[in-house]
């Protein structure tokens, strides 16, 4: 089963209105090729789930600048002024989520959980509209799962079965997004034969990865 794919084969996958998770932190660990393919596909009205919107030029920044995103679920937008501008103009709906909570919600979505109880955000505007549950004398927010139609990952290396290894701080949100989308596509710098990645070193198991773009 060969999971490798060419950019041209990706284009029909991308459709208007999809919910897409994209790995990365300030653009580090974001697949530039997959973001470029999304741009090329001309899709719009994306719901984007991402750590941050990086800068106008980097990471998912171009998707924001070119108005491809209708809704954003994100922890930080301060480094891309275009995001704030579109948000204030009402052109993009932004749900700000604490970064640790964002990670937990994605993991919940990918792990069959109905959510988690976190103390983060209690007593802040993040708590608005959320259920507060008291456990052992402390208040927690019930934070619910996030899933996506497609996850776009960036890894250092894959074997042909899709096992992934990441590079340094480019790992960030990629491994948990691999759990939480119906279709998981990874750009990798290098692809090797099955057996060349030690089972101890695999970070994302190939059963989670559907397509590999080299």
């Amino acid at each position: 089963m060969d999971k490798t794919i060419l950019v041209d084969e990706l284009l029909p996958i991308f459709k208007d209105g999809l919910t897409i998770m994209i790995g990365g932190f300030m653009g580090v660990g974001t697949s530039a090729k997959l973001v470029a393919a999304l741009m090329e596909s001309n899709v719009k009205d994306i719901t984007l789930i991402v750590s941050d919107t990086a800068t106008p030029e980097k990471g998912v920044g171009p998707l924001i600048v070119n108005s491809r995103v209708r809704k954003l679920i994100v922890s930080h937008i301060g480094t891309n002024p275009e995001t704030g501008k579109q948000m204030i103009a009402g052109d993009i709906e932004v749900e700000l989520v604490p970064q640790g909570t964002l990670a937990e919600r994605i993991r919940s979505g990918g792990s069959g959980l109905g959510g988690i109880l976190t103390p983060t955000g209690v007593g802040t505007s993040v708590a608005e509209g959320k259920e507060i549950i008291r456990v052992d004398g402390r208040d927690y927010l019930l934070e619910t799962p996030l899933r996506a139609d497609v996850a776009l990952l960036k890894a250092k290396k894959a074997d042909k079965s899709g096992n992934l290894v990441y590079n340094r701080s480019a790992r960030n949100f990629n491994p948990i997004m691999a759990l939480a989308a119906d279709l998981v596509i990874a750009e990798v710098d290098e692809i090797v034969e099955i057996g060349e990645i030690d089972p101890e070193d695999v970070v994302t198991t190939g059963i989670l990865v559907d397509k590999i773009l080299v």
């Binding site: 941050d52 640790g100 993991r107 250092k156 340094r168 790992r171």
Partner: protein
């Protein structure tokens, strides 16, 4: 002016550095907090956690675009460090495995509330990892200039901006003074060198006790 601002930042960072113990696991916000390591005594070795996914943040050696700090800047990793994903990173942060976090602030108040992520209608940066850090770290230090650029006190009786965390701050360090947050409100722990009590009283909106 720049000179003077740097001076102020140095004074704050230097005082924060004295709060660190050998072996502490520390997470530093961007801005003044990142200057803290420059002022650590030689016998105090701390371990820096970077919320984007590693332990052992160190000086830049070789530039790898995939190795950045939580501000997105190129950085290094010390021997003994470890990489992990964002989920694990925040497990460490929220789970009390970080001893101290040092963050900047827009406003802090007498109840230990902190506001530093949004000015409604103006700046919407987003909270990033700050809400998790102030909730989970064992000790939360706010390192900031005492007054806003317009000269108004950032230490208030009650925060007016949306909160980052409720009742989370342990210590406030500015270029004028050091306050601890206690059950009975703010306590003035120290006045910085060359500053007098009148100045601190004048520049601080919140009431405070004097130790």
């Amino acid at each position: 002016m720049v000179e003077s601002s740097n001076n102020v930042k140095g004074i704050i960072a230097k005082r924060v550095a004295r709060e660190m113990n050998d072996g502490d696991v520390i997470n530093l916000g961007i801005g003044i907090p990142t200057l803290v390591p420059n002022y650590l005594p030689k016998d105090v070795n701390v371990i820096l956690q970077s919320e984007n996914g590693f332990i052992g943040l160190g000086p830049l050696s070789e530039v790898d675009p995939d190795l950045v700090n939580a501000g997105g800047q190129p950085t290094g990793i010390n021997p003994g460090g470890a990489f992990f994903d964002s989920l694990f990173s925040f497990q460490l942060i929220r789970g009390g495995h970080v001893d101290v976090t040092v963050l900047g602030g827009l406003e802090v108040d007498a109840c230990g509330n902190l506001a530093n992520w949004v000015i409604p209608g103006k700046m919407v940066a987003g909270m990033g990892g700050a809400m998790d850090l102030v909730t989970g770290a064992k000790k939360v230090i706010v390192a900031m200039e005492h007054c806003s650029k317009k000269g108004s006190s950032k230490i208030l009786e009650e925060c007016r901006l949306p909160l980052t965390g409720k009742g989370v701050v342990d210590l406030i360090v500015t270029e004028l003074a050091v306050f601890s947050v206690t059950d009975e409100g703010l306590v003035l722990e120290e006045i910085q060198e060359g500053v007098n009590l009148e100045t601190v009283l004048d520049k601080t909106e919140a009431k405070f006790k004097i130790r």
